[in-house]
Structures are given as C-alpha cells and as structure tokens.
C-alpha cells in the first residue's frame, strides 16, 4: 500500500540555495510515484493529467447544451488539470474571443453548477478556435500549430482528445485529416484519443468499416465510443446494486426471474432530425446501443475486477449468448406513430413530418424478444422496447419475478396480487422500486401490491453529475470502463441485423396513436407468451 518515499535529501542541492542557474532537467525514474498521492487519501479527487480537448462540430446542439457545460462543471469541481485547453473547430468566421463568448453563453445557460468568474477565467485562457472546413488543409495546419502552441504556452504536454461531434458522413474525412496532419500520432510519452458518438454504423458491415477506418488512425484502446446512458449514475448503480449487495444476486437468475423488460420511451417526435432519423429508425438508433448495453449490464456475470477489460469480457459473453427467436416475425414488432392527441396537444404522424417520405418504412417504435442462452438465463426472455411519441419520457429496467409457487391464502385474498418486481428507473426520477404484496389493514386477510421506493434525489445529492461530465473526465483519465468497445458494437449489430433484415422484407410498420404505449401488435407479442407490458 505505502508508496515509495524519497530516500534521502541531504546530498542533493536545494533549489533555492542553488540559485537561478538550475536548468538541467532531472528526469524521473520510470517507477516514479507521486508522494502526495496515497490510496488512503480519499479526499483528493481524480484530476485529469495535463491535457486538452478538441471539439469538431463545436457549434452543434450537443456541444452547446452538453459538452461545453460539462467542461465548465468539471473545472468548477476542480477536476480539470491546470492549463486545460479547449479547442473548437467549425465552419464559422470566429476569433478566439467570439468562441469564448459562445462557450460563455452556453455555460451560463446550461451548466449545472453556479457560474464563478474565477473558474471561467482559468478556462477562458486556454480557449482557441480554428475556423474551417473538414476538407480544408490550411485549417488542419492551423489546428496543428494551435496544438503545438498550447503545449508550449499551457503545458498540455501533447495530450489531446479529439471529440468528433459531427454527422457520421464526416467521420472518415475528419479522421483522415487528423492522420494526414500528424495530429493522431502522440509524441513520445503522451496520448491522442478519439471520442466518437453514435451511430456506430448502420449494420455490421458498415460498423466494421468505420472501426477499421478509426483504428487505422488511432489505437483501438484510444478510441472512446460515447454511450451517454452508461455515464448515468443509475446505470453505474446497476453494478453496485448487483455486486455490492448480497440480497439480490441469489434471486437474479432463471429460478426466480420470470422475464425482464427494458424500456426506453420518448414523448417527443423526431423534431428536426428527419434527415438523420429516416432510414435509421428506433431499433438502430436505440436498441443496438443503449438497450443492449443495459441488457448486458443486467444479465452479465460478476466481473473479476471493475476495470475496462473485465467488464468488456463479461458484457461480450452476454451479447454472444443472445439468441434470436426462431420466428422473428412473431417476436419482433415495429411501428410508426400516427397523428393523434398527445398530452393535450394535437401532434402529426411520422409520415406527415417535414422531410419524411410518405411511404417511409422507418420504425419509430421497436420491440424485440431476446433470449440469453446461458445457465443463468435460459428460458428467461428479455423484452426490449423503445419508441418516440409514447406516453411519457421514461427509461427503466424491470426484472419481473415468478409468481409464488404456492399460496396458503385463498384466491380472493390474493386477487389483486401481481408478480413481484424490481424496477431500476434510469431516468427521470432516478431510483429503484421493489414491488411486493402486503396485507391491507383491516380484519379479513386481503393482500395488495405495494411498492418500496428508493429515489436518488432523496438519499443523495440533488444534482448528480451529468453523464457527459463523467464521460469527458474518464476520456481525459483514459478510463474506459463506461465506454462500449468495438467488439461490443459489432456483436450488437449481429443481434440486430437479422431483425432488420426480416423487417426489410416483410410488411410495413404498424401504426400507433401518438401518446399511447405502442402498437397493439406489441401487446399481442407479449400476450402470446402469457405476459403483458408494464405501464412504466
């Protein structure tokens, strides 16, 4: 535990006595460890080492609403290194000051923590803006010199993360330009990392192509794929719940669990994202990444350690064990929202949205049944569903247990009794609910469902860090625990591709009224198994 201490001080000259002529840098030993850090000194936060963040597509929505506020919040919490630098790259005719102003406004509007002038000053000194196109060689040359200049003036030590907040069609261009201008090659002893956002391809072939392209330029373990769901406290809590407690794990298997429902519902339509969304659809947009990740975390075995490699191994094992139903048509449903009244507002159907082809077969709702063929889960179906314009915005994982095998109470007593369930509410109202039966006060024996509730807002800080804060910090620290690796991405496509293939050749999406909980076909799909969807 105890770290190596400096052995002796007597014979070395003291810097202040040595006068100003001390220049020869003493290089640290390879096993140098910081004596001011100690594993038992748990107050000291993990601060990222000297580094900078380059954001491509810095004028986009994500960048303004999430990334820049997250960078500020990190700085405000004292988690960014002194000299941290932020470089923006976009097609705008801006100077550094204009960029700083844009960041300032974004931070003022969207940051989670209060605005503090001194933190802002610390950040603003390290802001640079590079105007230009992704084709533009001069812009990348400028970026190169900005990076070198920051190393000299801010001490970023050549460590840079490149955040590609750009539409997928620009990925190849940006990555190639980074390679061409030597920005992806780290100088000795430093790192260059790439951060990319979904979609990671649109099927297995394109995902492989994209991975090959990115890995050609960056080392595979220096590529960080953002799945912002994994940065959420509640998702990390799945692991704490399962592996830091004794009472859940014994029942977390086929002997007690009847089935698992994972839902991610949105109440909004596609809004202005028609160009991106049409042809992609809900299954590719959500199931392939978020829902399969949530499923993997719910179903995986205990990892040997809480590190990226062990987590990847366990998640991969689950994804590889996934088996599709033989009759895909009977166990996968897609739908499109139709015009209706939603929450007191009349909304358009998907096919009437601006920029959508009226004959489009893109799914805005998708529900699939998956089996995980291993000893723990054989015979326990996992139902995954996602959709737009559903009843309300909610993401949750519901583990539904089998009915009690025998009840000493007569049937009238337990009439209102449902199956027990553990529900992990990922968002909003983060927390967990346990549902079980309890006697109704009174004379006769009557049993009714009650819930025991744990809400994050009740037991912990009102403002947990935003997912992007955690993820950006992890990128700078090089901690890949919360990032899906390319193997997982490819494995997920292998699960989804046959379903998409089936849909492409059979029928059209079912229509469901906006504001409802999905098409009737989805209810029928569960009814065939003798089950029903929870109303989240």
């Amino acid at each position: 535990m105890s770290k190596k201490l400096p052995t002796t001080t007597a014979e070395e000259p003291r810097a202040e006595e040595g006068g100003p002529e001390v220049v020869v840098p003493v290089l640290p030993a390879a096993d140098w460890s910081n004596p001011l850090r100690h594993p038992q000194d748990r107050r000291l936060p993990r601060i990222a080492g000297p580094s900078g963040l380059v954001i491509f597509g810095v004028t986009g929505d994500l960048s303004r609403k999430k990334l820049m506020p997250a960078v500020y919040d990190l700085a405000n919490r004292g988690l960014l290194p002194p000299g941290f630098s932020l470089v923006g790259f976009a097609r705008r005719d801006w100077e550094d000051q204009d960029f700083a102003q844009v960041v300032h406004d974004a931070v003022r509007e969207h940051s989670r923590t209060p605005f503090r002038e001194e933190v802002w000053q610390q950040l603003a000194e390290g802001m640079r803006f590079i105007p230009g196109d992704f084709d533009d060689d001069t812009a990348f040359k400028q970026l190169r010199s900005a990076v070198d200049e920051l190393d000299a003036s801010r001490g970023t030590s050549g460590n840079y993360a490149f955040y590609l907040s750009v539409p997928p069609k620009f990925f190849p261009k940006v990555v190639r330009q980074l390679k061409k201008h030597g920005l992806a090659d780290p100088p000795e002893g430093s790192w260059r990392r790439a951060v990319i956002e979904k979609p990671f391809g649109r099927d297995l072939a394109s995902a492989r192509e994209l991975n090959a392209l990115v890995h050609d330029v960056f080392e595979p373990d220096q590529v960080f794929r953002i799945d912002h769901y994994l940065g959420k406290e509640t998702v990390q809590n799945i692991l704490a719940l399962r592996f830091a407690n004794q009472m859940y794990e014994p029942i977390w298997n086929r002997s007690y669990v009847d089935h698992v429902q994972i839902t991610m519902a949105e109440d909004i339509g596609i809004g202005g994202r028609a160009g991106y969304y049409d042809g992609i659809g809900a299954a590719r947009d959500v199931i392939q990444n978020h829902l399969l990740q949530l499923m993997a975390l719910t179903a995986m075995e205990e990892p040997a350690a809480f590190d990226a490699e062990s987590l990847l191994m366990e998640k991969l094992k689950v994804l590889k064990a996934v088996k599709l139903p033989e009759d895909i048509g009977a166990h996968a449903v897609r739908g499109q929202y139709a015009a209706a009244w939603q929450g007191g507002e009349q909304v358009r159907g998907y096919l009437d949205e601006d920029g959508i082809d009226p004959s489009s077969t893109t799914d805005t709702y998708a529900a699939v049944k998956l089996n995980v063929d291993n000893r723990r889960w054989a015979g326990v179906p996992f139902y995954l569903r996602t959709g737009k314009r559903l009843g309300r915005r909610v993401t949750e994982i519901a583990v539904v247990f089998q009915r009690a095998p025998h009840s000493p109470f007569d049937s009238t007593a337990t009439e209102e009794l449902n199956q027990n369930a553990i529900v992990i509410r990922v968002q909003p109202d983060e927390g967990m609910t346990v549902r079980f039966g309890s006697k109704v006060p009174g004379t006769s024996m009557e049993i009714r469902d009650v819930t025991m509730d744990f809400a994050y807002g009740e037991s912990f800080t009102e403002s947990s860090p935003e997912a992007y804060e955690r993820l950006i910090l992890d990128v700078l620290l090089g901690d890949a625990n919360l990032f899906p690796r390319h193997q997982e991405v490819e494995e997920s496509w292998k699960i989804l591709d046959p379903i998409e293939g089936h849909w492409a050749n059979h029928g059209r999406p079912a229509q469901y009224a906006a504001g409802s909980w999905g098409p009737e076909e989805a209810d029928e799909m569960l009814a065939r198994d003798g089950r029903s969807w929870r109303r989240p």
Binding site: M1, S2, L5, P6, T9, E12, P13, R14, A15, E16, V22, V23, V24, P25, V26, P28, W32, N34, P35, L36, R37, H38, Q40, D41, R42, R43, L44, P45, I47, G49, P50, A75, N76, G78, P81, P82, G83, R116, E118, V119, Q121, Q122, E125, A152, S153, R154, G155, S157, D453, F454, A455, E458, S459, F460, T461, E462
Partner: protein, 311 residues
C-alpha cells in the same frame, strides 16, 4: 412545519417527528445520517444554516444541542429540556430538532440525543465552537462515527492542535483540514506534471493559521523534507513552494480566489482556488464517514509507513 415543545422528553420529541412527517404527507424518509451539532445560542443560526445546505447533498436528521447558561441559582436547579421540531421545507431536505437544555440535563445531553438517532445510520457530531478537549471521549462524541471540530474557532489554534495530536482517535477530523483539500489536490496535480523529487518546501500563510500548519505537516510527512513556515499578511494560506532540482513549483494566491501555478520550464497558469463556505466544507466531510487516516498523518507530521490499513 414547526412544532414547539417545552419541558419535554425524547419520546415526546419522537412523537412530534412522526406527527410532523404525517402532516406534510411524507411518512417515508430517505435520510442517510444523523448530524449532531453541539453549539451555543450565538453560533446556532449559522451552524443550522450550513447543515441545512449540506443536507441537500446528504439528507440527514439534524439534532442541534444548545446548552443554555443559567444566570440565577434557581435556574441552575431547574433542569429541563425545550425542543423545536422542524420538518419539511423548514429543515432542508431532512428534519431538524433544536434541543435547548437548561440546568442539570445539560450534562446529560447524550441521554436526549441517543433515542433520537436514526436507526442503523451513521452519526456525525460537529462542534462549530467550544469542542471538548478529547472529542472521542466526550459523551456525545462517543456516539459518533465522525467528530468534526474546527481549529479556526479557537483562541490558540496551535496549542489546541497539540492537544488534538494527543487525543486523536479514528473518526476525528477538523474543518481546518477540510479547507485544505483544493490546495492539496492542486499540489498533487502539479507534482503529477512535474514528476520530480521535491527537495525543499515552504508554506506561506498568516500568523498562527492552523490549516497552514496542517498543510506543512502533511508535506513533511509525505515528502520527507523540512517545511519552512513563512508568515505573510494572509489571508489564510497564501502560497506553497516546492523546491526541486529543476526549479521551484509554486502555487501563489496573494488574494482573492485566483491563484497562479508555476512549474519549472513551463508557463505559469491561473487556477481557481476559492475559500469555500462552511456548508461546502460540511458536505465534503459527510461524503466519507470512515476514519481519515491522512488527517492523522498530517496531525502527527511524521512518516506514513505506519498508517493503519483499516480501522
């Protein structure tokens, strides 16, 4: 809502708490700890305010024990307990009970506090002023996993510091130490970057500043060098210098929240190093409730090899 109880007992207070929660419609609570604040009337307001702000991060039941001083012999024999129960919006995110003890019951405040502790949840005692000489041996302190004192609130901090070294028990902590966390994390980050052996060190601070003394002791313990204490006009800690063979690492904060970091061979940079409010300090203290071994090391100011691995 507020419920006032005069000449009361712990069980009546418990009843009032249940009644109060019923009345505001939230009988279930998710409080994670009990915070006992031992203070006098003068400091109670600020301490309660800080605790309520901290309760946004750590929902807690706050028990404020205020010992009233009797002015007449009649008062001294008349022993009684008054309580003010606050639940809901009046009490941050948890609930607050203000206990005023008169006469003899003041010496037995622990008998009032014990029945009011949350079941199974950790207990923290905080003395904003007038901490006992030996916090762990104090009847109220003995109930707690964590005992928070404040060297900034004593007359002769360096003398009291000596006493604290002698009486240290796992679970003790001091806000003077908490105030140092940003300094310590920046120093550690600076050394992460410089990656050289430190051969000398100096801490510059106002006179008799206990935090500066703790910082110096921590550096001595961790770096194995003698740390010079330099007196400046303040406020509080103004600079830390670490001498290395390559040059000096300096964090300089002459005034205000902005500090400058200079590393050998690198341009100097601005750092935000704010003096934090009491509620932020308390919130940091409540984040971990196990013994703070590094505080023990800093108190003693000697080598680190003998840090107990677990207490």
């Amino acid at each position: 809502m507020k419920i006032d109880l005069t000449d009361t007992t712990a069980s009546k207070i418990n009843k009032a708490l249940v009644q109060g929660r019923r009345a505001i419609g939230t009988p279930a609570v998710g409080m994670v700890l009990t915070m006992v604040i031992v203070t006098d009337e003068e400091n109670a307001y600020d301490a309660i305010k800080a605790a309520e702000e901290a309760s946004h991060e750590h929902p807690s039941r706050t028990l404020v024990v205020i010992k009233r001083h009797a002015r007449t012999p009649r008062d001294r024999t008349n022993s009684h307990l008054d309580a003010e129960v606050r639940v809901g919006a009046d009490a941050g995110t948890g609930e607050t009970v203000i206990l005023r003890t008169y006469g003899e019951v003041s010496d037995h405040a622990d008998s009032v506090v014990l029945p009011l502790l949350l079941p199974d949840a950790p207990v923290v005692v905080w003395w904003p002023v007038d901490a006992p000489d030996n916090p762990a041996k104090d009847p109220l302190g003995a109930l707690a996993q964590r005992r928070i004192t404040d060297l900034y609130a004593v007359e002769n901090p360096l003398d009291v510091l000596k006493a604290r070294v002698r009486s240290y028990a796992p679970g003790d902590t001091d806000l003077a130490w908490t105030r140092l966390t940003p300094w310590r994390s920046m120093l550690a980050a600076a050394l992460d970057q410089a990656r050289v052996k430190v051969t000398s060190a100096a801490v510059e601070a106002e006179e008799e500043n206990p935090a500066a003394e703790l910082l110096a002791r921590w550096l001595e313990a961790r770096l194995d060098v003698t740390v010079d204490r330099v007196v400046t006009a303040g406020p509080v800690v103004t600079a830390v210098r670490l001498g290395t063979a390559n040059g000096e690492i300096v964090i300089d904060r002459p005034e205000g929240p902005l500090a400058t970091l200079s590393l050998p061979g690198q341009p100097s940079r601005t750092l935000a190093l704010k003096v934090r409010t009491t509620s932020e300090l308390i919130a940091e203290e409540l984040r971990r409730l196990d013994a703070d071994e590094m505080y023990a090391v800093a108190l003693r100011g000697e080598g680190t090899k003998e840090i107990p691995t677990h207490v």
